[in-house]
């Protein structure tokens, strides 16, 4: 392959330099040359030339994945019908850090482009990004940091992995810091499997730490709770990760990477008004939620249905946090605390809304 390697880079509307959440519903568009993280990529790796950048609204791709993928494939066709020397040799996407929608978009585009145009595609995501589970078997995912603070090191890992793939070098998930794809690779070890297994067993018996060669997948699944027999007598609670809070955000829930959740009384309130409630979420265009917060947490509809006899009683508080790049550990902690309160109050069912 002739140097420099010509690559296509996929970015969301924000990193593509087009706009913020107000542009999140933007269709994919093709921009010449590098943008944002693409410039860093070129700076670190003189062998890489970002021929074009595809920028897309992350809501658009997350909500219309199939259509967006078709649009991007069509957009890229001219590149692959050009003279051989001009053809891009790889697709890179992100870093998407811990952004779920951005991650899903990168995953879908990498998978489709790699399959259609037969070039390697590498995305960059934080290992706990929800898109990792969805796409890790289909594409290479270089490990990124949790947020934009880790931009440079994330871009570096993405570039190193990409170059190794282009140059046909051997890669290993641990060493090259990408997410294992579930493939086995053969290699010669200095010790036989039997020796290594006995070593591990002895360590285990002595209570020492050891590293397994075949980690079991961890599926943290919760058994579905039994259905409610009769909603018209059941006690219901409302929870949201959509950031609906009293005006002014009294608990100062962060717009991203939330550190707490809020507990707010809805006793005697039959609907959220734009005068008294707002969203604190920094991951979507807040216009519609601020105009009418019931669009995110449907208190008005729930109260009417309760009055009409569809719901027994409503728990007197609702619980809100911001699910925007919020860590799984924090979300788990919030969930545990909320569950305790709900159980103590005899709540039988929960509607949890997310944006």
């Amino acid at each position: 392959m002739a140097l420099p390697y010509r690559i296509i880079h996929c970015l969301n509307q924000f990193f593509g330099g087009i706009g913020g959440e107000d542009k999140a519903s933007l269709k994919p568009c093709l921009l010449e040359g590098p943008r944002g993280p693409g410039n860093i990529l070129q700076k670190f790796f003189p062998d890489i030339e970002v021929t074009a950048t595809i920028a897309f609204g992350d809501n658009y791709v997350a909500e219309n994945t199939d259509r967006a993928v078709r649009e991007v494939l069509d957009m890229l066709r001219p590149f692959f019908e050009s003279a051989k020397a001009e053809k891009p040799v790889m697709l890179l996407a992100g870093p998407a850090f811990n952004a779920g929608r951005y991650g899903l978009a990168c995953g879908a585009l990498c998978k489709a482009v790699a399959a259609r145009y037969e070039i390697p595609a590498v995305a960059s995501m934080f290992p706990q990004n929800p898109a990792v589970n969805e796409y890790r078997k289909d594409i290479y995912i270089a490990k990124a940091g949790e947020d934009v603070m880790a931009m440079e090191e994330s871009v570096r890992k993405l570039g190193v992995l990409g170059l190794k793939l282009l140059e046909g070098e051997a890669i290993w998930p641990e060493k090259d810091e990408y997410i294992p794809r579930g493939f086995r690779q053969n290699y010669f070890h200095t010790q036989s499997g039997a020796t290594r297994a006995i070593d591990m067993l002895l360590k285990k018996l002595k209570g020492e730490s050891f590293t397994t060669e075949y980690p079991m997948p961890t599926f943290d699944r919760v058994k579905p709770a039994p259905a409610i027999k009769d909603m018209s007598t059941a006690r219901l609670a409302l929870v949201t990760s959509g950031g609906i809070v009293p005006k002014g955000n009294p608990d100062r829930i962060s717009a991203a990477n939330a550190q707490c959740f809020g507990t707010y009384s809805i006793e005697g309130i039959s609907a959220f008004t734009p005068e008294s409630y707002q969203t604190a979420h920094g991951g979507y265009d807040p216009t519609f939620a601020n105009e009418n917060p019931n669009r995110v947490l449907p208190l008005d509809a729930v109260c009417e249905l309760a009055a009409e006899g569809f719901i027994g009683t409503l728990h007197e508080y609702y619980y809100a946090t911001v699910g925007n790049a919020t860590s799984v550990a924090n979300a788990r902690k919030f969930g545990e605390s909320i569950a305790k309160i709900l159980v103590a109050d005899g709540v039988q069912a929960v509607i949890l809304t997310s944006t």
């Binding site: 999140a24 809501n59 997350a62 909500e63 779920g100 929608r101 899903l104 929800p130 898109a131 943290d220 919760v222 579905p224 709770a225 039994p226 259905a227 409610i228 027999k229 009769d230 909603m231 059941a234 929870v239 990760s241 959509g242 979507y284 265009d285 807040p286 216009t287 519609f288 939620a289 105009e291 019931n294 669009r295 995110v296 947490l297 449907p298 008005d300 509809a301 729930v302 009417e304 249905l305 569809f310 946090t321 979300a331 788990r332 919030f334 969930g335 909320i338 569950a339 305790k340 709900l342 159980v343 709540v347 039988q348 069912a349 929960v350 509607i351 949890l352 809304t353 997310s354 944006t355």
Partner: protein, 75 residues
């Protein structure tokens, strides 16, 4: 949050617009909603129509809570 509440024995219906995230996270009862910035609304509709749509969606969520499931189910 869905999982921790369900772990405590309370059925949770997760109403959201990006189903793959909800599935990855491990929600058992999933109701797809309208759009990311307005899951329970549609600003293109007249106020009354929008309210009707919202009520129907909540009814669907209530129905999901009243439906026995033994695996992740999208309603």
């Amino acid at each position: 949050m869905v999982k921790e509440i369900e772990r405590a024995g309370i059925p949770v219906v997760h109403c959201c617009s990006i189903i793959p995230i909800s599935k990855t996270v491990g929600a058992n009862r999933i109701v797809p909603t309208i759009a990311i910035p307005h899951p329970f609304g549609d600003p293109a509709l007249r106020l009354e129509e929008e309210k009707t749509v919202r009520k129907e969606l909540v009814k669907k969520a209530l129905k999901a809570l009243a439906t026995p499931v033994n695996q992740q189910t999208i309603f």
